[in-house]
């Protein structure tokens, strides 16, 4: 009696390439970070032959990162517009009643606490990067993969909390800066340069406020989400957003401190 050795069609279709990362469980561990090109790639990686949504752990992460990239590109344009207006306002003046050209720009003195705030923000970028890296720590991811608890999240959580604290500290520092300026009677409407000081610090603070919201969501996700991919996405995207806001701040702060 010949045994059925021909697999059914659907079985035959799947050509799996066995390679060193493959632990034979039929699914790649979520720390596999090789390029998963899709769309016309056809590079023989069988993960690409699967429908969208099941092409391995990095697929969703890649999409979210890309989305974040475009969002930050748009955000960058927002700040570029503000900064261009800053330069236009700084360099233009007007003619007074006696036909004299007047440039009314008077720089706003930067409260020194901003230096401290900048340092805090930089530090928070370090802590969040540590959180991000621990989500991708190869060995811990594998442990989770085998069902041995949630070592990645356990290690990432303190760093996330540290980032939240540092981020809040930065915002508190900004509030102090605004208070200091207000006590010197420098308000939003006071002068041309104060418009920009407040506009830039306010809009950036709103971005950081949203960032802290994202950090809290990520922290919440660490405890509630069972899928490691989801947790990785949460932490990873928040971290990149946070880094970008840090970078934006460096530029904006340089602008306020040295280019008024």
């Amino acid at each position: 009696m010949p045994a059925t050795i021909t697999p059914i069609d659907t079985d035959r279709d799947r050509k799996r390439r066995v390679d060193d990362h493959d632990n034979g469980s039929g699914r790649r561990p979520p720390n596999d970070n090789r390029d998963k090109r899709t769309g016309g790639g056809g590079d023989g990686d069988n993960w690409n032959e699967r429908p969208h949504g099941s092409r391995g752990p990095r697929e969703r992460l890649g999409s979210y990162r890309l989305a974040l990239f475009f969002a930050i590109a748009g955000d960058l344009m927002f700040f570029v517009a503000l900064v261009s207006v800053f330069f236009v306002a700084r360099t233009t003046g007007h003619f007074d009643a006696y036909n004299r050209y007047i440039n009314e720009w008077l720089p706003t003195a930067i409260p020194p606490i901003l230096w401290l705030n900048t340092a805090v923000l930089l530090l928070s970028s370090v802590t969040i990067e540590l959180a991000r890296r621990s989500m991708f720590h190869e060995q811990h991811v594998m442990e989770e993969w085998f069902g041995l608890g949630k070592p990645t999240s356990r290690r990432a959580a303190p760093w996330l909390i540290a980032s939240i604290l540092l981020g809040s500290l930065f915002l508190a520092g900004q509030t102090i800066a605004w208070k200091q300026l207000a006590s010197q009677h420098v308000f939003f409407a006071s002068s041309q340069s104060s418009h920009f000081f407040y506009l830039i610090t306010y809009t950036h603070a709103i971005h950081l406020f949203l960032g802290i919201g994202a950090l809290l969501t990520a922290l919440f996700g660490l405890y509630t989400s069972r899928q490691i991919e989801t947790r990785q996405i949460l932490v990873d995207c928040t971290a990149w957003y946070w880094h970008s806001m840090g970078l934006f701040w460096i530029f904006l702060f340089t602008l306020l401190a040295f280019f008024q």
Binding site: T10, D11, E49, R50, G53, A67, A71, A81, T92, H195
Partner: protein, 604 residues
């Protein structure tokens, strides 16, 4: 070893048997969201058209006092008309409406990349529309400052009725819209970049997808700048700044001494957004036109790769030409020359597009379906409207023409009418896609009614907008509420134009009434239209792929059977038609083997 199936949320929700049952409110299904966007655009276009008729009637008949019927003055109505048409019709319907309905299928994906973001941006758009409409019901009505919101009119609350609360609502509405559009563009870009199926290389993407792609890139750049500009304007109005207010400006009887800014700054920021915005509105239509002309002529798109390049080039140059809206605003002559050159340069890729459209259908024997007719209409309108572009791009000529109806004629032909024709072509062509559901095949619209609709609309469009060139050349200004009662020579001139203006108004009423044919056709075909075969137009692009089961929302199917059954693969470029004599002889993108469906040779 068997793979561990990953069941995250494999609850396949039972699909509604009737495709027209209301969807769950916050659905993330891209197909439903696309339909909701189209519904929103339809609602908006009806309002916008009504308002435009109101304006035309007011122009020739100021004594009629139709203000009693609709709230708001002439300028308020103009503002709402422009804003609704540009944002809520020509931006949402092609980019988000059809972008959701068709785009995923055309690239061989079953979903959009970010479903939640998608749903969120739709509801934000709806909210934005609501806020805009609510401005009409405030005490002083909608703002007067047009869709371009030039300061100081827009920056000073006492500048006129509607510039207070009405203007604030306008600002809020457009800010919401900018955020919503940015999010939906991010979704579009990620979908196109990440979710193309196997074999769908960049040069195999249909030109429609390239249109969506370029428009989405432009949206991300442009809407963010608009948002910044709106924020600054808001500060000017409420936070005591004066970015856009010059010193000693007399606005509506009040002298504003404290200003230190310049309205020119707003113009720069606004048009840096505004010009790309008009390309956001038209690029998907251009792509669709290329594909439809090719499909019904059974020809390849002439110079396919060049068309991809021109799409991107138009997008790129579109960022560099904003100054042509500011020729008479006091730009430096050097800047004016530069913008004039870049504007004329954009004529080159635009002309290349037109040549490709003409070459594609040249001496073919097209099937004149309604969709094809509307695409041909698009080409015709684009040429007619485009011819006046290089005229306006010359600063000297624009000095005279800028504030006249000549500009109104230009942008209504090239953007408004061409854009709407592309939307009609899309609706007739993709109606089966709009109406299909997981369980029912789609329906077709009536071709007979469609042809009548096309003929009357084309006639109405030209009859309405061609004479505007003449009144503009004769000096009829834009943004004037009435043409009679003006003293002196100017009054004489305008009085002479009154007969022609009466004709234009009559033509506009005719044009609007012709759309009733469309509405009737739409409503009738939704329920009683002929059931469409799987590939009614014998098209080659992926949205007509027969086995495309639209299981929505699709979740990760990981069991083996699903993998191979549902795998979508593309084998070739679009537009592989083998003979214009045998329309059924073609190889769609999903077909692995070329099948020649004809026995005799192509005589051409």
């Amino acid at each position: 070893m068997t793979p561990t199936p990953r069941h995250q949320s494999s609850t396949t929700s039972p699909l509604p048997p009737n495709p027209y049952t209301l969807p769950p409110l916050f659905t993330t299904d891209h197909h439903t969201i696309g339909r909701l966007y189209l519904l929103l655009a339809l609602f908006s276009v009806i309002i916008g058209t009504t308002l435009s008729l109101h304006m035309r009637l007011h122009l020739i008949w100021p004594g009629l006092n139709i203000e009693r019927i609709l709230p708001g003055s002439y300028l308020a109505i103009m503002t709402v008309h422009g804003t609704i048409m540009l944002f809520f019709v020509l931006t949402t319907a092609p980019q988000s409406g059809f972008g959701n309905l068709i785009l995923p299928a055309q690239i061989g994906s079953r979903r959009m990349a970010l479903p939640l973001v998608n749903a969120f941006s739709f509801w934000l758009t709806a909210l934005s529309l609501l806020v805009l409409c609510s401005s009409a019901f405030t005490e002083a009505g909608s703002p007067l400052s047009g869709w371009t919101a030039y300061p100081p009119l827009s920056a000073v609350a006492s500048a006129g009725p509607g510039q207070g609360l009405g203007m604030d609502l306008w600002l809020a509405s457009i800010a919401l819209f900018a955020i919503a559009s940015t999010m939906s563009s991010i979704n579009t870009l990620v979908t196109i970049i990440r979710l193309r199926c196997e074999g769908m290389t960049w040069d195999r993407l249909p030109l429609t997808v390239w249109g969506w792609f370029t428009a989405a890139l432009l949206s991300i750049l442009a809407f963010s700048v608009l948002l910044a500009a709106l924020l600054l304007l808001f500060c000017d109005r409420h936070a005591g700044t004066s970015f856009f207010l010059p010193a000693n400006d007399l606005v509506n009887g009040t002298l504003h001494t404290s200003g230190s800014g310049s309205p020119l700054l707003w113009l720069h920021l606004f048009w840096f957004f505004g010009h790309p915005e008009v390309y956001i509105a038209i690029l998907p239509g251009m792509g669709l036109t290329s594909m439809l002309l090719a499909n019904f002529a059974r020809r390849r798109v002439f110079a396919y790769r060049t068309m991809i390049v021109t799409t991107l080039l138009i997008g790129f140059l579109g960022i560099l030409v904003w100054g042509h809206h500011m020729f008479i605003s006091g730009l430096s002559p050097y800047a004016i020359s530069a913008f004039s050159v870049s504007t004329i340069a954009i004529g080159i890729p635009a002309t290349a597009k037109v040549l490709s459209w003409l070459a594609t259908i040249w001496r073919s024997r097209p099937q004149y379906t309604t969709a094809m007719l509307f695409s041909l209409g698009f080409v015709s309108l684009f040429i007619t409207g485009g011819l006046t572009g290089p005229i306006l791009a010359q600063p000297i000529l624009d000095q005279y023409l800028h504030n006249t109806f000549f500009v109104v004629a230009h942008f209504h032909l090239i953007m408004a009418m061409a854009g709407v024709f592309a939307l009609f072509a899309a609706t007739y062509y993709w109606f089966p896609q709009i109406t299909r559901s997981a369980t029912c095949p789609g329906r077709l619209m009536s071709e007979t009614l469609g042809r009548w609709h096309f003929a009357t609309t084309l006639l109405g469009a030209y009859a309405t907008f061609l004479p505007m060139h003449l009144t503009g050349l004769a000096g009829e200004p834009r943004h004037y509420a009435q043409l009679s009662g003006v003293p002196n020579a100017a009054g004489h001139l305008l009085a002479d134009l009154l007969p022609l203006n009466r004709f234009i108004t009559a033509a506009a009423i005719f044009l609007a009434s012709a759309q009733l044919l469309f509405l009737v056709n739409l409503v009738r075909s939704l329920r009683h239209g002929q059931l469409a075969p799987t590939n009614p137009w014998q098209a080659t692009t992926m949205e007509w792929r027969p086995a495309l089961k639209n299981i929505s929302p699709i979740h990760e199917t990981n069991s083996r059977a699903d993998v191979s059954d549902l795998k979508i693969v593309v084998y070739r470029s679009p537009c592989e038609y083998h003979s214009s004599l045998h329309p059924s002889s073609f190889t769609p993108q999903w077909e692995p083997e070329i099948t020649l469906n004809t026995t005799d040779d192509d005589p051409e």
